[in-house]
Symmetry: C2
Subunit: 514 residues, 2 copies
């Protein structure tokens, strides 16, 4: 019997009808029985008369399936065995209690994202370079777009288009008129539009490339945060009518849903797409939830107005900062407000471009990471350094040029050393953030004393810090230089302890009850 790992992907291909438009005129689906459940998943047309049905078993043991639908003459049945996961297969990432993240097998997940919006639309050699860079980088989530991108630094045509060339089938005439009348997003130049596609006919070569990239990322332990829509368009993706949009999303779920590492980001900067309404986003969210039996992580990334994260289909708070000066410092408040993971997908990139969202220092980006993680959240990286070939990591991938990535790797190691499954902000004095391990408890008589915590001092650069520890218990103290990536053992202490510090910014102090 064929064997597939639990949380691996089982796929079966069947030949079927090529009449009419097989993407919409026919359907195929599979019913999978095993682990005490029966699940129906939709299949998808992959061109050349081939239909595929993919399934991710969430259990171990025998799984029986039946493939059926109007696309094929007769149902196909069979079985496979879901076996124990191996290696880095911990299953899909889930929101767990307290707004934390963990893999399905219980392994804690701290989401260290990065962003290469259009990397799969670049030349193959550049894509390979991006994968090589990622293989040496600390990131375990990558945000990228299914649709091609038109924007500053992104004027070249993509490697392929998501739809076949055609005469605009699926466009909504009213939305086309709306786009002609107003810019695509605030400050956008109005590009020449190219409406020459059939929006009901996915370009299978385009989607096959995404299959391959998602699988490669999975094998590298990287979550694929797939951005399904975005504002930076000149090819009509934002003027598609309801039926075409829904067909596209169903296709994406059927095609990509069985990869354990997929996250759904319904949109980047959803509020910068004037052709979409609140009702559209809610319909998309419901559609994803209805069609995705695995309930992958699913959210919406904002421009100026965060999405309503209280919606039941929203699994986490995908956020871009909206206040220019204070943002990640609200992480614990946002966590308390929605009780869903706070994932900072955009907090300004390390770089030097003109735009205010892409020119902070490595120091400042790393500071934002520490704030976000110690407050119980997660953060995403990006780089926007000017480049003679206009290859900017944030969109094109390539190589990393900044200083933040190694420091983010260091922070990831610190987070992974933390007992329990998450950090939470604890009581501290006003000028520090105190991140406490899930397992940590504050002393009843000394609410500033925690079993396991990290004091983060941010931009302050004191020459000392006074710790007020109990007289009756021992605490191990370490001084962490978050920029120079050192952890210095300062011994075991009780009572009032004055800790000498180097007078540099970006220091932290780890205090653990012995």
């Amino acid at each position: 019997m064929r064997k597939v790992e639990k949380w691996g992907m089982f796929e079966i291909a069947v030949r079927g009808s090529q009449d009419g438009n097989p993407f919409v005129d026919c359907e195929v689906s599979g019913v999978f029985e095993g682990g005490g459940n029966s699940v129906r998943v939709m299949g998808f047309y992959d061109g050349g008369g081939v239909y595929r049905v993919r399934f991710m078993p969430m259990f171990e043991g025998v799984c029986r399936y039946r493939i059926e639908g109007s696309a094929i003459d007769a149902p196909v049945s069979g079985e496979f065995e879901a076996v124990a996961p191996t290696g880095g297969n911990h299953g899909p990432v889930r929101a767990i209690e307290g707004g934390a993240l963990a893999y399905a097998d219980g392994t804690p997940h701290y989401s260290f994202g990065t962003t290469c919006y259009a990397w799969v639309h670049q030349a193959p050699a550049l894509q390979e370079q991006t994968l090589k860079t990622l293989s040496e980088a600390p990131f375990n989530k990558l945000r990228f777009c299914v649709f091609p991108k038109f924007y500053d630094f992104n004027r070249r045509e993509p490697l392929s288009y998501p739809f076949e060339r055609g005469s605009g089938e699926g466009l909504d005439a009213a939305l086309v008129a709306q786009t002609a009348a107003e810019p695509a997003w605030p400050g956008a130049t109005k590009p020449e539009r190219d409406y020459g596609f059939d929006y009901f006919r996915p370009n299978v070569a385009h989607f096959q490339r995404f299959d391959a990239r998602i699988a490669q990322l999975r094998d590298m332990g990287i979550e694929a945060d797939l951005i399904l829509m975005h504002p930076y368009d000149r090819w009509g993706m934002n003027e598609m009518g309801k039926a075409a949009c829904d067909a596209y999303l169903r296709y994406a779920v059927a095609r990509f849903g069985a990869y354990r590492n997929v996250w759904w980001s319904l949109s980047n900067e959803y509020d910068f797409i004037p052709t979409k309404t609140d009702a559209d986003w809610e319909r998309y969210g419901a559609l994803m939830a209805d069609n995705d039996p695995y309930r992958h992580m699913c959210s919406v990334h904002n421009g100026l107005v965060p999405y309503d994260f209280s919606k039941p289909w929203v699994t986490h708070q995908s956020r871009q900062r909206v206040d220019f000066y204070r943002h990640v410092e609200y992480t614990d408040e946002y966590l308390a407000r929605f009780n869903k993971p706070v994932v900072w997908d955009e907090i300004c990139y390390e770089g030097n471009i003109g735009y205010g969202w892409g020119n902070i220092t490595g120091q400042e980006l790393v500071r934002r990471f520490w704030e976000a993680f110690l407050r119980g959240g997660h953060a995403g990286h990006g780089e926007t350094f000017m480049d003679p070939q206009d290859i900017l990591w944030w969109s094109h991938g390539g190589v990393l040029k900044g200083e933040s990535a190694p420091r983010i790797a260091f922070l990831r190691r610190i987070m992974e050393q933390t007992p329990g499954r998450f950090m939470r902000v604890g009581k501290g004095i006003f000028d520090e953030v105190v991140g406490c391990a899930e397992t940590s408890r504050a002393r009843a008589d000394m609410p500033l004393v925690h079993d396991y915590c990290i004091h983060y001092l941010g931009i302050a650069r004191p020459l000392y810090r006074d710790l007020v520890l109990p007289e009756d218990e021992d605490f191990a103290v370490e001084v962490i230089d978050t920029w120079n990536m050192t952890v210095e053992d300062r011994g075991v202490h009780r009572g009032h302890t004055r800790l000498a510090l180097p007078g540099n910014q970006y220091m932290a102090i780890r205090v653990r009850k012995v």
Copy 2:
């Protein structure tokens, strides 16, 4: 006839009764007629049978006076001539329309403060050194305390006490009990109290020293922001009863009110004095307004809760930041809310001590200054560098060790070059602060284009900035490096202009219609 400059100080001394406690048992006052007005000011006892009455003429011309009161046998009359001001005498600073500041003669005033809380309580040589430092520094306002200070780094006894030794006359027994029961302010250690004064009997030597220092500051063009009360006490100043407090404040007004450079700060961190109620502060404010015919600048500095700046006797918003991450960036909002000048008296000091209010870099302090001033406010400096003799500028004065002062001088020059009387925040793109001169107007068709403005980029470090200027007008463009203190002429431009920048933080761009 004796001549005194307009806004100068006329003083007359008379001999009078030494019976009982001359500070409270007798009174003397003066009525001054001139400039079409008649003003009564209170005199004060200066020891040794001498009473003084001081008056600041707000006009030019002959002034007739009559000194009278229970302290003297018979009234004394006379006249003097108030003549035109000379040199740096521009009169007292006032709030003017739009929440700006100006001297009485109309000269714009940008308040560049610094803080040496206890400098007048230090050894004379150190005080002289402080004055020398100030003579070379950019500051035109100095905050300091009349009462001595007990706090970390401030454990030595002061040079003198504000009251004569005695047996606690004027103490409020209930407040003494309250202080015995709770710490003086959050986190304070409870010092041994020294209640051995007569709180109705000012120590004239102490106050004479303040006279001399205020006059020296005046002659250096520095406003004396006198802090009348504060929490850092071990000598009973915060356990004085109502009558003693009011007598002290009346004494301070009578004694110091005729110096044109005096500002009244009723308290530092008023909300950290548990022995004072809201009603006390209001009574003090009303008392100052009633007794000060010149209506000097008067406000209250907060710990965690800003004072209610809408009160009629409050002339300006004396603020300590209350959010750790965003503070001066609210300047324009606070200005709009109260329509009174926003004076940031505490925004963290440049230094390296353990406390979170005293260990930022010079870069960060200067950044806060630029934010505050371009948004129409004012800011205050301070330094808290660890010192082997515990001489920290913030409290003791001495010498400046930081990097911010020369950059603050540079900013002051930029502000003084600005046409009109103040800056206001103007419309700009989201990642910059745009400070516009009072005289500047935005183009009706291009609301981002101003006649005279400075774009400040803060911690961003872009390699270029795109200016979108009108096609039909010329604009002179300069690149300002606020840290390296350079102004680079970049010529005259129209239309879309890409301005190369060095890729450093803390840059600004000045744009002026030619």
